[in-house]
Amino acid sequence: MAKTTDRSDYLTDSEKAESQSAVNTKPRYWEHRGNRNNMWRMLNFVLLAAGSLLILSPLWWMFATSLKTMAEVMSYPPSFFPESWEWSNYIRAWRAAPFTTYTINTITITTLVVIGSVLANSFIAYGFAKIPFRGKGIWFAIVLSTMMIPGFVTLIPQYVLFANLGWVNTYYPLIVPHFFGSAFYIFLLRQFYMTIPTELIEAAKIEGASHFYIWWKIGLPLTKPALATVAIFSFNGAWNDFLGPLLYLNDENLYTLQLGLAVFKGQLSTQWNYLMAGSLLVLLPVILLFFFFQKYFIQGINLSSGGK
């Protein structure tokens, strides 16, 4: 294990590029294109559009259900378009539980988790990728190992641990661990750091820069797409987390959105229209965030002007 992560083991390639430095140059590649290129773009567009239909059809089902009356949801055969568009379902779903409070709670937790995840994992991953040190292989193996044990068997001892810290019924168990890194993101960011040319770092070191400085000034900016990915993933993860809030929060005033959505699914029946309306409302901020966050990993291509 130790040996595999040793840098000398990896295949070395002559093609050590000025790759990253070229990232920010203007996309000349997209200029001067012929018909063949346009044909490719057409095909690309058609494929994407067709795929979108497949992706969207289950979502349409969800959306349609959210607008039906409960009687229509339960009718047979199910209708593809709602008979009457019950927009009030959204309001009623929102009022079925204190969702406004839940939203504030969820935003609080999620924001802190994202900050913790981005900073801690980036910092740790830099160490694993770019600094040679003794015992690195073993520690990296431990990092990966923490992903391999199913959470169920550590769930109870972990709960007992947090209970002894007096953290039950607070947000600490949901947030604090994220400031100490997690295997998935460490591994992911390490993969991205590995692609940064070592020369860049060596050069900075010769000029007297410390690793902290290099991480902050070179590492962070060059891995921006990866950091954006970590931010989106960890946002998504914290936003959708169900088990953590379920276990650790006892006071309903502290509940999160995912716990709130559970009220629509009872022992005997599910209020499909409210469940779907609520799910879509909860989804909305995540979609918006993603839509606007995209620019962080769209660096080389300037889309609006690229086609001219």
């Binding site: 990232v23 490719w40 160490g127 750091y193 690793h211 959708n240 993603f290 769209i298």
Partner: protein, 303 residues
Amino acid sequence: MGKRKLTIRRKESIYGYIFIMPFIVGFFAFTAGPLLFSLAGSFTDYNITSRMDFVGVENYQSLIVDDGLFRTSLWNTIYYVAFSVPLTTLGAIFISALLNQDVPGIRVFRTLYYLPAVLSGVGVYLLWMQLLEPGTGMVNLLLGWVGIDGPNWLYDPDWTKPSLILMKLWSVGGSMLLYLASMQGVSRSLYEAAEIDGASRWRQFIHITIPMITPVIFFDVVTSLIGGFQIFQEAYIMSGNGEGGPANSLLFYNLYMWNQAFESFDMGYAMAMSWILFVIVFVLTLINLKLAPRWVHYEGEEK
């Protein structure tokens, strides 16, 4: 000279540990204890609330020697991993390649393809149960339009696992994000050079894009393998009350473990199961790491 080199190396070591210190602290504070507890618990008849007596290797023994459901669940899980990991990896690379191009509305497309990954939890699985309903569900409706008589999906033991794989493919947009981020890092100059040489789009994709994103492919394969072995909630919801039916076809490893731990309260047994899974996944990951140098290409390789 020798002495100086030594001090530099030591200094680097200290730096290294400073950088990974958050992980080490977090590991010892939050993770190591519960992990060790579960290892110790696997040699006991721990029942969570009142009992924890040492029973030696009894749990391991009865799992490996006697337990037919253990074998069923392991087989189901391997089946699922063997199909879902390659399919989702290829699917994600393909979609990312399409989404890494300059076409009108690309931001909207990217958001659309990522959408299913954002949706998670019970609601989605319930939704898919409706979609896969043989008589009225949308999947068979769509198949009917192209003249295919759809199967009984979640009711037919031969089709239950494919049902789950289909659902996984729908939400492949999650790893699409990784590939997209990685493809963004590939230097334009490489493509320009290839263009001048007259290389086709396809050749560019195979000879430039793919090699440059191998670090992320490697990451994706390793993590989805680890994740695939831990499939749980899909089966828990979609097999009806977590029983793993019909005919045990959705009894995955973690589902069986869950039932042992939280239905039968035989937590010691479940802990033994988790460590057997750990060994299996660890060995597979090790093989992956050993094979990596043959195909994973790190641009910034240290010399």
